[in-house]
Symmetry: C3
Subunit: 206 residues, 3 copies
């Protein structure tokens, strides 16, 4: 057994936070343990799976059971400490933002490694970060949250754009990836702190 790398630790933290978000929303809808597990798992791996299907790669969770185990730990956590989770709201918000940032960077990197242009990579980064939450909301029969309010997937797009600009000035992809991840993280945090939203379209019935 080797020590996990820093990226693997972040990946675990992000997966755990995404799974918790799925399991908590499932519990609010009175899903049973199995349903909550599935929703948590799909929230965590759904974005990466859609990306890998589009890129014609084998989804990452099919090659490493860590995502299943991580979701199991998240379910256990909610079952045991569910009542106290509300007090950890800020902690999970930070974890979730770490996950969003990391998943965006991973999606971006994987897509560029396949030889696609940067605009495809930015979309794939956003899908990796945000599509799991869309499937989660479809499963609990709600309109996907990210379409209605808050800067969420837009933070991925901003991070991707920053990566692109960086790549003109910095030859090292690792530095551009770090700048990208930090940008996603900070954009998300600032948007929530200052309640920055995108404009809403006016319905025609007004």
């Amino acid at each position: 057994m080797t020590m996990p790398t820093f990226v693997q630790v972040l990946d675990f933290v992000g997966t755990f936070a995404f799974a918790i978000s799925g399991i908590r929303l499932a519990s609010a809808k009175r899903f049973d343990w199995f349903g909550a597990y599935v929703v948590g798992f799909v929230t965590a791996i759904g974005g990466g799976t859609i990306r890998d299907l589009l890129l014609d790669l084998t989804p990452g969770w099919m090659t490493d059971p860590i995502y299943l185990i991580c979701t199991g730990m998240a379910l256990l956590w909610v079952i045991l400490f569910g009542k106290y989770l509300i007090h950890l709201h800020n902690t999970f918000f930070i974890f979730d933002s770490i996950g969003l940032a990391l998943f965006t960077v991973v999606g971006l990197g994987k897509t560029l490694a396949c030889g696609y242009p940067i605009w495809v990579a930015i979309i794939m980064g956003s899908i990796t970060g945000a599509a799991g939450g869309v499937i989660r909301d479809v499963f609990i029969n709600e309109i996907p949250l990210i379409f209605r309010k808050e800067i969420y997937a837009m933070a991925c797009v901003v991070g991707g754009a920053v990566y692109w600009i960086c790549s003109f000035f910095v030859p090292d992809a690792v530095i551009a990836q770090i700048v990208c991840g930090v940008t996603v993280f900070i954009t998300r945090i600032l948007a929530v702190k200052y309640q920055i939203c995108l404009p809403t379209l006016k319905g025609e019935s007004d």
Copy 2:
């Protein structure tokens, strides 16, 4: 820069009309600009993406940014002229029917080119034309419209069947494709004009 072909112009018109339909329904649900863009984009490219995943091809929108640009123009259009769109109802209905016809022909042709039999091609033509609207309706949390009323995907099936019959008599695939597209277009127009519907299943609770 070369002149776009006639098919490319139709493709742009169809994509624009499909994106508009997604963005308008998103605006009725108070989606923000980002959400409306995503719903518009998925409405336009969702059917072709499912088809390409099933055929194990790279989705078309990942090889050409025109679909992203076209959706952006559709969003801008709705933001600027949203109030007046209601008066263009008939124009958009014609555009949408052009899109439906063209997408059906493209899906049919791509599937036959992969060596699949005609019945698979007819299904893929219908998926290309109609599945984007199904994902759109799932995203806005409504029962998919095409399952409940109006001849929509059925127009694709009719067009596909006509293509099949044509292919016995006409050796030229292009002529069969034109006849197919015209059939889809006319079927859709006539069905709406004369309010032709399929029968509804009676629920068991009656």
Copy 3:
């Protein structure tokens, strides 16, 4: 024309039962014939299609029109005998359980044949058996039933685990497959008969 094998007969019975379940739920929502057909078809082949996309295989229904024909027969059946179907409730429950068992075994076997480890195969078996019903419930705009009550996909997981244990003691894959299928079937029947459920997560608002 050759005689269908025993497995082909079971596959037809399972497909028919799954299609019926989709068509009945669609009829309760007043879908038209086309919508009911699509929902029935997706209920029957949706799980296998997701599995095949994840495994990068061509979905089975694209190579054999039997699933289309079977769904057509199911639709005809509901149109003609819909009123009397309620009396066949137990028969369809048995058919549905046969389908669940067979689809699990097929999904498990296909995944192992691709060289994946057993834990991936167990997930794919469960997806094959249960994911069609999830898409069905998304299409009719309900929270997926299998997430809320009854042992359904869990029966697939139990069957998969039994297959795994079997494979240590029995060298013949066919015997392990039969034991797996019987386990899924019996688990499902017992769970419904004795109303065995998984615990529900408590919502945080309590």
